[in-house]
């Protein structure tokens, strides 16, 4: 009996010893990689925001503002429904990017960035570019929302929104834009839907509309918030 107890205790000790060594080893690896992981994340965020802002307008992700569509400014990403990023050129605000999401596209959520420019007056606001960050739509159908978005708009072979969905939102005046999603018979101020993917197209259009309306309605407040962030630093 005594022998059996010994091996049982031994067994437990061995597992605990192994587990402790492993946990310790992992803590070391974690410490070694944590900074790099954070850096990569921030660089990716800055790169993505930079893509939707107009040229010569530099993204400043440190001044981002977390916004909840019901309660306004919030303190953390978890409470936010949108995130606003400013872009500066020579210290002046030249562009604004909104990170927003469509919760129910065809197969799940779509997270996207919409870049805005001409921020002097809400009536003059223009959409610059759309960039899809996350989506799980069907390849060849809904997934085409992201077609061509990595390429500079001036270098795209065509600006046809049926070919490259993001072109729907390129350099468009908000005051004239209808956000109507149509398969055919669309004007340059409507959204040309992806063939056979109206649900996905509508989901994105609605999300962008909501985000841009938010900015249009609260432009002075948001601009002031960016300035506050500057003052705090």
């Amino acid at each position: 009996m005594a022998e059996k107890k010994e091996t049982d205790l031994q067994a437990i000790l061995v597992i605990v010893a192994i587990a402790t060594v492993c946990a310790g080893g992992l803590a070391l690896v974690k410490a070694a990689t944590a900074d790099r992981i954070e850096q990569t994340k921030l660089a990716a965020e800055k790169g993505a925001v930079g893509k939707v802002l107009p040229p010569n307008c530099e993204a400043d992700t440190e001044k981002k503002v977390f916004w909840n569509k019901e309660t306004g400014v919030v303190k953390s990403e978890a409470e936010a429904t949108q995130i606003f990023y400013p872009g500066f050129a020579d210290g002046k605000l030249c562009g604004l990017a909104v990170k927003t999401r469509a919760e129910r596209a065809y197969s799940g959520k779509i997270v996207m960035l919409i870049g805005l420019k001409q921020l002097e007056q809400p009536e003059m606001l223009k959409m610059h570019r759309l960039y899809v960050l996350e989506q799980t739509e069907t390849p060849g159908l809904g997934a085409k929302v992201a077609d061509g978005q990595s390429i500079d708009p001036d270098q795209l072979p065509s600006k046809d929104p049926k070919k490259f969905f993001c072109m729907n939102f390129y350099d468009k005046e908000l005051s004239k834009f209808t956000f109507d999603v149509k398969q055919t018979g669309y004007s340059e101020n409507d959204v040309a839907a992806i063939t056979a993917s109206t649900i996905t197209s509508k989901a994105v259009a609605v999300a962008v509309k909501e985000a841009t309306e938010m900015v249009r309605g609260k432009l002075p407040e948001i601009t002031a918030l960016f300035e506050q962030q500057t003052a705090q630093k």
């Binding site: 946990a23 992992l26 919760e103 129910r104 596209a105 065809y106 197969s107 649900i199 989901a203």
Partner: protein, 193 residues
């Protein structure tokens, strides 16, 4: 997924995002076990129990890890929880339902390596579902797994008495059948919109 209604989450996890045919989880037991309908039922019940308990326990464990800022230990803690859970289920089954225990045989401990169990536990915390929504998601996924298993077992029983070319016997024909089933299940996509 965070804002979808509970019913939506349930339905989508069974049909549109079926754990086997769309998420590719639980393939090994799916291909291995389902040669007989009765085994398929037993296995499904066991997986349902383990999956639900696994998510029920790992979710608060993850909240604890978050509080201590050691989320990177999630892989280790989850699998340890699951392995222990399966041990416990084995002991309980042996005492309360010995015939089921016998018929499941080696497949019971193998539930530990069933990616569907670990997969749904991880997805629940990564997709930031509420505790209740995660449980609904897990139960739905388990039912989806059961559906896949049972449909497949039924088809396989019939395949046994048909002529199948030698190179296709076993896994290949199983996979091709799964492919056709996956095609059918794709018809359900868009269900949650």
């Amino acid at each position: 997924m965070a804002e979808m209604s509970i019913f939506s989450i349930f339905l989508v996890s069974i049909l549109a995002n079926n754990v086997v045919f769309a998420r590719f989880l639980g393939i090994c037991p799916y291909l291995g076990v389902s040669k007989e309908l009765s085994t398929a039922f037993g296995m499904s019940a066991a997986v349902l129990a383990v999956m639900t308990l696994a998510t029920a326990i790992t979710y608060p464990v993850f909240e604890g890890l978050k509080a201590l800022d050691i989320q990177y230990l999630d892989t280790i803690s989850f699998i340890v929880v699951i392995a222990s859970l399966v041990q416990v289920v084995e002991i309980v089954l042996k005492k309360t339902a010995p015939s089921l225990y016998q018929s499941l045989g080696i497949f019971l401990p193998l539930i530990t390596t069933n990616c569907a169990v670990m997969g749904t536990a991880l997805l629940s915390v990564r997709e930031e579902l509420s505790y209740f929504a995660s449980l609904v998601f897990t139960v739905g996924s388990a039912i989806g797994f059961a559906m896949a298993l049972i449909i497949f077992a039924g088809i396989r029983e019939r395949l046994e008495v048909r002529h199948v070319p030698k190179v296709l016997q076993g896994a290949p024909i199983g996979l091709i059948t799964a492919g056709i089933l996956a095609l059918a299940f794709m018809g359900f996509s868009g269900l949650g919109s």
